[in-house]
């Protein structure tokens, strides 16, 4: 299957008070039409930077230092600002973590929704209003006509996130980037929003890039998963492969450190990953996870290659590669 969006060897740098910081390095992945790809990792791992690079929404102090982002055959990084605006909100749209602050407090829901529609869909005021109401109905908001005239403060977090989804899907985009869309919501609302997003995107054939730190959400939603650590992709796999047979020690540690609901034996302890992410990881040589890894050895001082272990399943770890070599040897 041909891919819709190809990110290859992306390297993003920021100018900060303390000099240049490379926050994302050698990030590559591709997104197929209609699939849900989860990017999972902890805070500061570069998952949001990756998402915002696709939208080209990073601030002036950021710089793309290498790599390409191909969307339907064009390199987004080389588009003019005007052409990029044609894509934003229209063919690639995005929703954010904080529904409470992501809508402009002084404009009505109707205004903010029709603004997007009129910007991209060449509809007159009346048509845009009708489309907006239709979208609000689709995202399951009661009394959509009345909500058009409401200001964001009158809506709960869950309702606002529904409005954001309506806005993002109004132009039937090819890609929806959802950056921690339910992290700020209660679990019962999270479940509703997730199933709504999934349902609507299936209906319109929109692919989802789901950025999250929650492996539970990944298991519920994703078709494929990318695990990021310290600015790099450390593992990529089909969701079932990843949970059954995680290759990278970081992925394994993450999976084991989630407290599960089925219960614990009296003396059972959570497996935790010791230590924390090195502060200036971009300068580190070798494997960036080595300082927290129980399997680390001498060869981890050089950067492990990002290698395929099985079809569609790659990891950036010497151990994983060894496994694949052994398998090859057997074959």
């Amino acid at each position: 299957m041909t891919s819709l969006l190809d990110v290859s060897h992306l390297r993003m740098a920021f100018d900060t008070d303390r000099g240049k910081v490379v926050s994302v390095e050698d990030v590559s992945f591709s997104l197929r039409p209609g699939e849900t790809l989860a990017i999972v990792g902890e805070s500061g791992c570069g998952k949001s930077v990756t998402a915002l690079s696709i939208m080209r929404l990073l601030g002036k102090n950021s710089r793309c230092e290498g790599g390409e982002i191909q969307f339907e055959g064009t390199d987004l990084m080389s588009l003019s600002d005007a052409d990029m605006r044609e894509i934003r909100g229209n063919r690639i749209s995005m929703i954010f973590q904080e529904p409470m602050t992501s809508l402009n407090p002084v404009f009505t829901i109707g205004y903010q929704l029709t603004e997007t529609i009129r910007l991209h869909l060449n509809q007159n005021k009346k048509q845009a209003r009708a489309s907006a109401i239709e979208m609000l109905r689709k995202v399951g908001l009661p009394r959509p006509e009345a909500i058009m005239g409401e200001y964001p403060f009158a809506l709960s977090g869950g309702m606002r996130q529904r409005v954001m989804i309506a806005m993002a899907l109004a132009c039937q985009p090819k890609v929806l980037i959802a950056d921690e869309p339910t992290t700020a919501l209660d679990v019962t609302v999270q479940a509703q929003i997730m199933s709504l997003m999934k349902g609507l995107c299936e209906e319109s054939g929109t692919a989802i890039i789901l950025i999250t730190h929650d492996l539970g959400v990944v298991a519920e939603m994703a078709d494929r998963v990318i695990v990021m650590y310290a600015g790099q992709v450390v593992e990529e796999a089909d969701v079932f492969q990843l949970f059954e047979n995680p290759q990278h020690p970081y992925t394994q540690g993450l999976l084991q450190s989630i407290p599960h609901l089925d219960g614990f034996e009296e003396e059972e302890r959570l497996v935790s990953i010791p230590g924390s992410v090195p502060a200036r990881y971009s300068q580190a040589e070798g494997c960036r996870f080595a300082n927290r890894c129980s399997l680390a050895s001498e060869r981890c001082r050089t950067q492990p290659p990002y290698a395929y272990v099985e079809e569609g399943h790659a990891a950036r770890c010497w151990e994983a590669e060894a496994a694949s070599e052994e398998e090859e040897a057997y074959a």
Binding site: E42, G158, A222, I258, F264
Partner: protein, 341 residues
């Protein structure tokens, strides 16, 4: 139902037989209403019922989990226990005595026995104080150790929570989120408390760090015979830490029971829905049967009549709309539902 059974479930003072040891901490019909001021004369016209009659006992040495969604009142309970909120009704009994009747000196002493760990370890630590002085301050204020010994005591606290001793001279911003939470825990431990209210202690932390902090909390509980009230919305963490769990909805307790039992066989439809909504880290289970709630919880300023959950409950009947169910059950597992699952 027999009195002893209800006592098992909620440990309420009203049903406890005479001569029995009182639990460490007891809430008796605790209530916290916030007035809503409006109108020409700015008089309070209605109130937000953050906590609306909660009776609950925390036994010596146990970890009691308190779960529920935002606005259910769980944090207000925690804050009321450590004295950050003044209840508008009901009693808080510490070692069997009503804290409202305490003298100034006795209250001060009781406060040292009831400590709190906050959600955001950064905003709860004064950014202009070194970790050493942050930890020494409560020792000094309450005269726990003589001044010359303070530094040694701080070293001991840092050892306990697994931070290097040279942290004394550093400032909170120099630490990562997980380390800051360790400082917060050390601060709570400084006064040798009996009960620690942990208010969302790990929800601001990354998954791999959460596990470290949860393990630390569990170790400390054993080592120092601590009692926890563990308030969180992350069900996994609550399940891991708690011996018993209480579930709240809109200012009321809807279910209390032993952790394992409650998660395995929830009685209240809300508990079931909460458990079902929790994303399970296993893709094989993604199409499981579950109760999916619709919409948001109603406002605590205007809670529904009858059972507060009836507006979202898939099993609600006319009875649920009319009258409010009492908390009842057996074997220490009680639910406030006319039709428990």
């Amino acid at each position: 139902m027999r009195n002893s059974e209800l006592k098992d479930a909620v440990g309420s003072a009203s049903v406890r037989s005479a001569g029995e040891a009182a639990p460490l901490l007891e809430l008796d019909a605790l209530q916290k209403h916030y007035p809503v001021r409006r109108g020409l004369l700015n008089r309070p016209q209605s109130s937000v019922r953050a906590v609306d009659g909660v009776s609950l006992a925390v036994r010596q040495g146990e970890a009691l989990g308190l779960v529920g969604e935002s606005g259910c009142g769980k944090s207000t309970i925690g804050r009321a226990i450590v004295g950050l909120e003044k209840p508008t009704g009901g009693r808080i009994l510490f070692e069997g005595e009503d804290m409202a009747g305490y003298s100034e000196a006795k209250l001060r002493n009781a406060r040292t026995k009831l400590q709190m760990v906050f959600q955001d370890p950064y905003s709860s630590l004064n950014p202009r104080m070194t970790v050493g002085s942050l930890l020494a301050e409560p020792l000094r204020v309450h005269g726990i150790v003589p001044k010359p010994d303070a530094a040694r005591e701080v070293d001991r606290l840092l050892d306990i929570v697994g931070l290097p001793r040279n942290s004394q001279d550093r400032y909170p911003h120099e630490f990562s989120g997980g380390q800051r939470q360790r400082i917060g825990i050390a601060r709570a431990l400084a006064l040798k408390p009996k009960l620690i209210v942990c208010d969302e202690p790990v929800s601001a932390l990354d998954v791999s760090i959460q596990a470290q902090v949860l393990n630390l909390l569990k170790d400390l509980q054993q080592e120092f015979d601590l009692t926890y009230l563990f308030i969180a919305h992350g069900l996994g963490a609550v399940r891991y830490i708690s011996d018993r769990i209480a579930v709240m909805y809109l200012g009321k307790l809807v279910e209390v029971g032993p952790a394992k039992e409650l998660f395995l066989r929830p009685k209240h439809p809300y508990t079931k829905a909460l458990l079902d909504a929790y994303p399970v880290p296993n893709p094989q289970l993604r199409n499981r049967e579950r109760i999916m709630l619709q919409g948001d919880a109603p406002s605590p300023a205007d809670p529904p009549r009858g059972c507060r959950f009836h507006t979202r409950c898939p099993l609600a009947t006319p009875q649920c709309r009319e009258s409010e169910p009492e908390l009842k059950g057996d074997g220490g597992h009680a639910a406030a539902c006319f039709f428990p699952l």
